[in-house]
Amino acid sequence: MTNIKDMPQAEELYKTLLEQLKERQKSGAQFQLAGLASGGAWVAERLAKDLGLANNGVINVSFHRDDYSEKGVKAFNSAEGMSTKLPFDVEGAYIILVDDVLDTGRTVRAALNELFDYGRPAKVDLAVLADRHRRQLPVDATFKGARVNVADDQILVLEQSDNGQFVFSTESKE
């Protein structure tokens, strides 16, 4: 169990991440945000608003997950029924994938596959609130709130309260 005082503070991480993306925007870069369902989609939605973007995309990685042979369609559950929706042209775009937690990198691999089913972007970056740095694939985030330490047997879960504020909590792995 992670102590309360060690728990990553999602709101602070969000502010840090937002500043980094504002800097990128100031440099003149035109990008689109695509959040990974479900936690990443909430973060992308709030970022799009705070950055003055017209909209944001949602990516459901279920179809490209690599654990279907173990878990079957139960592996779909984490997307909570959100479907992939990209309300902009993927072809030739600069797209920043957004997720709440970067861990092994497997979800990001799946997200790239899903994204490329919709077209060939010019450039793709990754923005995350928290990096658990237990990578199993050669993947990293260009923008991150912070590196965080969470016990190996815990899952870091993002929740959004009614007023839009983010909170991290931990759950034991089944």
């Binding site: 459901n60 279920s62 179809f63 490209h64 279907y68 042979s69 878990k71 079957g72 369609v73 139960k74 779909f76 997307a79 029924g81 479907s83 992939t84 990209l86 596959n113 490329f116 089913d117 919709y118 077209g119």
Partner: protein, 324 residues
Amino acid sequence: MTKTAKTASQLQLNDQGELIHLLTLEGLSKEHILHILDTAKQFVAVSEADREVKKVPLLRGKNVFNLFFENSTRTRTTFEIAAKRLSADVVNLDIQTSSTAKGETLLDTIDNLVAMQADIFVVRHKTTGAPVEVAAHLPPHVHVINAGDGTNQHPTQGLLDMYTMRHYKQDFSKIKVAIIGDIVHSRVAKSNIHALTTLGCPEIRAIGPESLLPKDLNMMGVKIYNNIEEGLKDVDVVMTLRIQKERMEAGQVPEGDEFFKQWGLTKERLRLAKPDAIVMHPGPKNREVEIASDVADGPQAVILKQVTFGIAVRMAVMSIVAGN
């Protein structure tokens, strides 16, 4: 029949209660049905226009065998498309020219195909219970999907009909459904009645001549109407069915024009249903026999949407059974 059906509903679940075959909707729980419909909803997105690559890799490297011992165009094609959109390799067996025609038994054919590393069999057969017999014979890692057995069950059609009704009407507990025509020979009607009952539909009506209605409909909680005008009053869903002449003796029902006059779904009759009622048909439809052309092509018809949803529903069923 009851004995077979019971065996079928037990056989299709493993010890953990997960779906490993889809043989019948009789006895399939509400949770299982809703899980299939929810999963299908996710698969609808795979076929949408803005997705350039209409294919996902879930069943990559799996072999799906379409075994159709009875003719079919729509069902076989949509199963094939569903399997291909999941990246499976699909083999369609032409039974007319196969070893079965040379006297090989069904189970011998199956054994040979298992030896070729089959993962999923999609089976249509004129005999009730044939897919159940196949499922009982198979090793645990091979799955069977019933694509229609005799006059017994057509579970994926029943599920795609549930998907369609849910899409247009949302809440099963608030709708009245009327099924018109040849119900006695219709495995589609049977699968629908079982699923609707499980999902809490409060009123299922069967409309047709006595010779085309099964004797046990009352026991299944279905209201019988021998007058189409009365039966259509205030319903939310109207399902028309083809007269299955190939399963009948001559003279069992009035022919073409005569049937249409008494039981055909016309514009005038459809007005008796709710103004936003949807019209469904599992196909193939016979125009001006069970349904008027201007109804089949009219604004209330969702017959072609059923076909499209059928792909997503079959993708869901294949990925659920193969994943358990």
